[in-house]
């Protein structure tokens, strides 16, 4: 019996984001909200562990009220219970403020062996919440997992680093962050989707977690976003058309002049 907490972030599907050239802003209207990709791997892994060892999976999502859709999908994939942690006062949270809220939620659940989450979120790629949460809960962390094996209170994790693969051993309770390679998330069956609506869900706010105003959102953050601008490439944009041979000749000549091509 393994008690697992899986963390789920709902994100805008970044590949669908467009830049509005006139206002130089991002167009988010009509962009679908999805479960961040590695969090989906985390859900799948939790379900596979439960299928093997038995137990219970609780999914927690901190986010806007729309994130209940992400939790519904998690329930359909095999999660047993879902908690949406939402509060307008969370607005402006940095990764420290997010980790603090999640730490309070995890502490409220109290009884768990394993926390699993994605190594990064698809929108921010900050890699921060997992290690920060592990620190706040005083848990060992296993990052970039490609395989998780549990034996009694022992856990063995295969990790993917840039230049090597590692096998690391430790004890539960602990926190594991996963990368996409770990598994192929399932598509829930129609039956599972139907059944998911009967599973228990809760809604927690900052008050339910006994967090004070100073700990929440912008106030509770350590990092401050000063400004954000639409990212643009400042490149020469010297584009050649016409006869392929002429174009290639012009290109190689220019690259030689730039000193990036020998000859």
């Amino acid at each position: 019996m393994v008690k697992i907490i899986v963390l789920v972030k709902q994100v805008l599907q970044t590949a669908e984001l467009k830049i509005d050239k006139a206002s130089k802003g991002i167009v988010t209207q009509g962009v679908p909200r999805v479960i961040s990709e590695t969090d989906k791997n985390a859900i799948e892994e939790a379900v596979r562990i439960k299928e093997k060892h038995g137990g219970k999976i609780t999914a927690i999502s901190m986010g806007s009220p729309e994130a209940k859709e992400a939790l519904r999908e998690a329930l359909a994939m095999g999660v047993d219970e879902a908690i949406l942690v939402t509060d307008p006062r969370f607005e402006g949270s940095d990764s420290h403020a997010v980790a603090s809220v999640l730490a309070a939620a995890v502490t409220k659940i109290l009884d768990y062996d394993l926390i699993i989450c994605g190594a990064y979120s698809e929108d921010m790629f900050a890699f921060q919440v997992g290690p920060r949460l592990a620190e706040l809960c005083n848990l060992p962390q296993f990052t970039y997992a490609t395989k998780i094996t549990l034996e009694g209170g022992k856990i063995i994790v295969e990790r993917d680093l840039e230049n090597e693969r590692q096998i690391v051993e430790g004890k539960t309770p602990c926190l594991v962050t996963v990368v996409r390679e770990i598994n192929e998330p399932r598509l829930p069956t129609l039956m599972a989707i139907m059944a998911s609506s009967k599973k228990p869900t809760s809604l927690w706010s900052g008050d339910d977690l006994s967090l004070t105003e100073e700990e929440l959102g912008y106030n509770g953050s350590l990092d401050e976003l000063l400004r954000s601008t639409v990212s643009s490439g400042e490149r020469k944009r010297n584009i050649l058309q016409g006869d392929p041979k002429d174009a290639v000749l012009k290109l190689t000549k220019t690259l030689q002049q730039e000193g990036v091509l020998k000859g």
Binding site: P131, R165, Q166, C174, V260
Partner: protein, 324 residues
């Protein structure tokens, strides 16, 4: 009253990466009128850091620091930071660095900006302005930290190292911060097999995307890469969906981030995810048959045309140049 020292600290478990951080750290500490400090676990690496610009090295002779472990390095750096109160800590943005920096920042109750793309002091030299990309590469954000030390992780290749100066002198301080044995144990490690030049080290990269229609046509790319002496990379769908190349070879926000002198994008449309991985390239050249492909907006040079026609001509031209 004691004057604030405002020292700049750098750390990476990869020496070459640490030297780059020392290069940037030197500029920052000069502006702040403070010292550049790093952590070492052996005398020889301490000397190496001094040659590359460190004013002071905190030398910790503790077997627990021999191999990188997030637990022991968080202990060591947090203990030392609490004692010496640095202004800034720059950490190499390897996967090790990326699990260390947030855990360290949380222990020190400070902010952290991961994968910074630009770091500079504000006009009054009060804050570090740290840029990073967000929203899948669409947004460039500028952050400051409300508390100190101000921590950022920096990808390899963003800054350049200063040439080592054998005559340079620095201070080595032997210190023993309290370090607990790690909570997890490494059982085994296997280096990854990399064929040819590693993308992160390559000075020329030939990269391709969906514009290559069949796996057999890869020979076009291979021939060109061989002629020009470049490493081969690809866009995400080639590695993740088609699996024509291993995952280590796809370039993008979630994959490899590269910084070659010359980058060729062949048949790559230019999703923002891919562009974010190549933004540190010096010169970007693209070949695409769609004149409206977003990649052209992000290129220095481009040829609108069929890569099946262009590449053989280009390969020939490069071969001729090599002969002449």
């Amino acid at each position: 009253m004691a004057q604030e020292k405002r020292d700049v600290w750098v750390f990476s478990e990869q020496p070459q990466h640490a030297f780059e951080l020392l290069g940037k750290g030197k500029a920052l500490s000069a502006e702040l009128g403070s010292e550049l400090v790093t952590l070492a676990s052996t005398q020889s690496s301490a000397d190496e850091y001094i040659r590359h610009g460190a004013d002071k090295v905190l030398l910790v002779n503790n077997p627990l620091l021999e191999e990188f472990h997030v637990d022991t390095y968080t202990d060591a750096l947090s203990e030392l930071a609490n004692e010496h109160k640095p202004e800034v800590i720059l950490i190499g943005s390897t996967r090790n660095g990326l699990e260390l920096a947030p855990r360290l920042a949380e222990r020190l109750k400070t902010g952290c900006v991961t994968e910074a793309t630009k770091i500079e002091l504000d006009a009054d030299k009060k804050f570090l302005l740290m840029d990073r990309v967000a929203m899948g590469g669409n947004i460039m954000e500028t952050h400051i930290s409300r508390s100190k030390p101000q921590i950022a992780t920096v990808p390899k290749g963003l800054f350049s190292q200063n040439p080592p100066d054998p005559s340079r002198k620095g201070q080595v301080i032997v210190t023993q911060p309290k370090i607990k044995p790690p909570a997890t144990k490494l059982l085994e490690k296997k280096p990854k097999e990399v064929k040819g030049v590693k993308l992160s080290d390559a000075s020329i990269i030939v990269s391709f995307g969906r514009g290559v229609r069949k796996k057999e046509d890869l020979v076009l790319i291979e021939d060109f890469a061989k002629a020009i002496g470049g490493a081969i990379g690809c866009s995400r769908p080639i590695a993740e969906d088609l699996r024509w190349l291993p995952e280590e070879q796809y370039i993008g926000l979630s994959g490899q981030k590269v910084n070659p002198k010359l980058y060729f994008a062949c048949g790559i449309s230019g999703q923002i995810q891919h562009l974010t991985g190549i933004r540190n390239s010096k010169v970007i050249v693209s070949i695409n048959n769609d004149p409206k492909a977003p990649i052209f907006e992000f290129s220095d040079y481009g040829i609108v045309g069929d890569l099946y026609v262009i590449l053989p001509i280009l390969t020939d031209a490069v071969r001729q140049l090599a002969k002449s």
